[in-house]
């Protein structure tokens, strides 16, 4: 069970751990890190887990990050909380690419309101169609480098607006406001950012009406003769014994790929292709976000007067997609831009590039490193990945994990839709950084896999694997995320998403889950479930 006061290493310094984040034996110097997101990160997971493999089809690349902790990746994620735009729900109607959602922005908007009010999100009213306004708390002011980014964007006609982060800047539902230490990814001891563990699960347990079974690895959903889910069968990881919990309804929310895996592994004579998978759609339509990033040293920031620039654990400004009306970009979908920089906590591994650039030694090197501290500005794009038939997950028939559960095999291919978008990101980021006075030495990426564009899965926005839709032939779930074929089965993570707009998924997961929960409660009251 997660215990924040013990497990969250907020305010620790690197030197409080013997290897200071370079890994035992300095493993990071050799390309291997035991801390995939840095020392003290609260993800409690990794790209590879002992005894829990996954496989990737020959010739493809895919990386799957899994947290194994109450609250999962919400304990450490970037807290970026962006509403989908109205047009994001109707991609196919708009330009013939992708598939429309069975719901509209207006269907989900009240649930965005509820989710934002409950978890707390910073932001400002901007009236930008690609970034609908919501219920916002004040965002702290831009840091110095972010102010320069804003100036550059103004010259380039790119909107650059206050961040929308799930960080509370005002006391909210008993949680104190942010104390601006920039360490959201380590987990927040005061619960001043959103995590499912601290904001939802622990308070729910306090009601006495939630019984949490930790260390349970779900193996299979068991159905009765009428085809309804009657029990969840799981491995107790501590005793390595199989147990069952009987249920009136089952809500699956294991993370999109793990949810697909559980359903695909829940086979019976009635559901030979996996539970609720008569359509054969489960595992298909897998997407991640397109990732591309570019950094530059900004001369105007050299020897900047020192001050505490920590702030929230993430950027204070960001750039929403701004070209949604342009039809001649050569790729169909947009991206937003995230900003990194400032005086970060000095940690090993940060200085290798500067040392290589300056070379030498002694007082010159020391003076140089001091002058360059805090001058790096990073821009990172997160773009929409259009589902394609070569990107999906399925059960690997030959491999099981240490619990005996068949594992996933991934297939992943970017298409020109994404590769050209990454090139556009490079051009945009170059323009912004050069306008700020930076120099870009990296060549533009070629439109091929592996050149600058992230590897599939690396952005950890995998979704779409149990998608919703009005047609039971082409989707597994209806518009309430209820299985077409199994009335007491629901999916409440990002697996139901029909598309993966350039908006980080967590806020929409919350809104959609809220809507699903209300529907489920109503159906139970009516006796339909």
């Amino acid at each position: 069970m997660l215990n924040p006061s013990k497990d969250f290493k907020e305010h620790w310094w690197p030197h409080q751990t013997p290897d200071r984040g370079m890994g035992p034996g300095g493993s990071r110097y050799f390309g291997k890190s035991p801390y995939p997101f840095g020392l003290y990160d609260a993800g409690y997971g990794d790209w590879e887990l002992d005894g829990e493999p996954y496989t990737v089809a020959p010739g493809d690349k895919f990386r799957w990050y899994r947290s194994r902790i109450v609250g999962g990746r919400t304990n450490h994620y970037g807290r970026i909380s962006l509403r989908f735009a109205d047009y994001d729900f109707t991609p196919h109607s708009r330009d013939g690419v992708g598939t429309d959602w069975p719901i509209t922005y207006d269907d989900l908007s009240p649930y965005y309101d509820k989710a934002e009010s409950f978890i707390g999100v910073t932001g400002s009213k901007e009236g930008i169609r690609s970034a609908p306004d919501g219920i916002f708390q004040p965002c702290p002011p831009p840091r110095v480098h972010e102010m320069l980014v804003q100036r550059a964007c103004k010259q380039l006609n790119i909107p650059c607006i206050p961040s929308r982060l799930a960080v509370i800047t005002q006391p909210t539902h008993g949680r104190p406001a942010c104390h601006y230490c920039a360490q959201c990814s380590r987990g927040c001891l005061t619960g001043s950012n959103y995590s499912a563990s601290q904001t939802q699960i622990f308070p729910a347990m306090k009601t006495g009406r939630l019984n949490l079974v930790a260390n349970a690895m779900a193996r299979e959903l068991i159905t009765d003769s009428s085809g309804k889910v009657m029990a969840v069968s799981y491995i107790d990881k501590i005793t390595r014994t199989e147990k069952q919990i009987k249920c009136r309804a089952a809500v699956v929310a294991c993370g999109a790929c793990e949810s697909a895996r559980l359903l695909l592994n829940s086979k019976s004579s009635r559901f030979p292709n996996g539970l609720a998978n008569g359509s054969g759609q489960i595992g298909r339509h897998l997407t991640d976000s397109v990732g591309y990033s570019l950094s530059a040293r900004i001369p105007a920031l050299e020897n900047l007067p020192r001050h505490n620039s920590d702030g929230m654990g993430g950027m204070h400004v960001y750039m929403p997609w701004w070209l949604w009306e342009k039809k001649d970009l050569g790729f169909p979908r947009g991206y937003h831009i995230e900003v990194g920089g400032g005086f970060g906590m000095p940690s090993p591994g940060q200085f290798a590039g500067l040392c290589a650039r300056h070379e030498g030694y002694g007082k010159d090197l020391k003076t140089y490193l001091r002058s360059q501290y805090g001058t790096s500005v990073n821009l990172a794009g997160r773009g929409e990945h259009v589902p394609n038939p070569n990107t999906y997950c399925e059960i690997d028939p030959a491999v099981v994990d240490k619990f005996g559960i068949p594992v996933l095999r991934f297939h992943f291919k970017w298409t020109d839709n994404e590769l050209k978008q990454a090139q556009h990101m490079h051009e945009t980021f170059t323009a912004i950084l050069e306008t700020m006075g930076g120099t870009i030495t990296r060549a533009a990426p070629k439109p091929v896999e592996g050149d600058g564009i992230s590897i599939g899965g690396e952005i950890i926005h995998e979704l779409g694997t149990v998608r919703m839709g009005n047609d039971a032939q082409t989707s597994a779930l209806n518009k309430y995320c209820q299985a077409h074929e199994v009335k007491n089965l629901f999916v409440a993570d990002a697996a139901p998403f029909v598309s993966n707009p350039d908006k980080n998924p967590t806020l929409t997961i919350n809104a959609l889950a809220w809507r699903t929960a209300e529907y489920l409660a109503e159906e139970m009251r009516k006796g339909n479930v």
Partner: protein, 198 residues
């Protein structure tokens, strides 16, 4: 043979002396720290390296990050001890250092008939001036250039991740504040130097 007193005391006194010369006084807290580390370093027993290897590493460390008028040097900050700790957990890393140090000694023997650590400071600097740059990394000095790159990046990491190095850079965060503000002075400084002007 594991007597490290010479190097640690010498470098500490040099560091403390420099700080006093340049700044006039050594702040009390830092003076105390110097004494504490002197006591600790005096008794330091390397885990991965011989006394000779460790003394050589410490000499290199204070050449790479010496004391200056802002802060003390790498040895006082504990950078060589941190490298020794990591090396004690990783034979591959140990080999990089033992091999590199033996190369330095052989090269210095060839040049002046002494080990690196026993050479005159001017001779140490003459050799480091060569191996501190990639342009010399293709010929006979290549092993030295490769080793110095390792030593430089790890000494720098060890120094700046220590409390002394963190203070040197002027990192003022990792605290709890009720309001986030950006000083006007910093905004003005950056704008004046940026392409945007004021």
């Amino acid at each position: 043979m594991f007597n490290n007193d010479a190097v640690s005391r010498r470098s500490l006194l040099r560091a403390a002396g420099l700080a006093i010369l340049s700044g006039g006084t050594l702040p009390l807290a830092e003076a105390q720290q110097v004494h504490q580390i002197a006591a600790r370093e005096g008794a330091y027993r390397p885990r991965a390296f011989t006394g000779h290897e460790y003394r050589t590493l410490a000499t290199l460390a204070d050449l790479i990050i010496p004391a200056d008028d802002v802060s003390l040097g790498a040895v006082v900050a504990g950078a060589p001890a941190w490298i020794d700790l990591l090396a004690s957990q990783n034979p591959e890393l140990t080999n990089i250092y033992t091999g590199g140090i033996a190369w330095l000694d052989a090269e210095m023997q060839r040049r002046g008939g002494t080990n690196f650590v026993d050479a005159k400071p001017a001779d140490q600097i003459a050799l480091v001036d060569l191996i501190a740059y990639r342009k010399n990394g293709t010929g006979e000095l290549a092993p030295g250039v490769r080793f110095f790159d390792w030593a430089r990046k790890m000494v720098v990491d060890g120094f700046y991740s220590s409390p002394l190095g963190t203070k040197d850079l002027g990192y003022l965060g990792n605290s709890a504040v009720s309001k986030f503000e950006v000083p006007q002075e910093a905004i003005q400084y950056a704008l004046e130097r940026s392409p945007f002007g004021k």
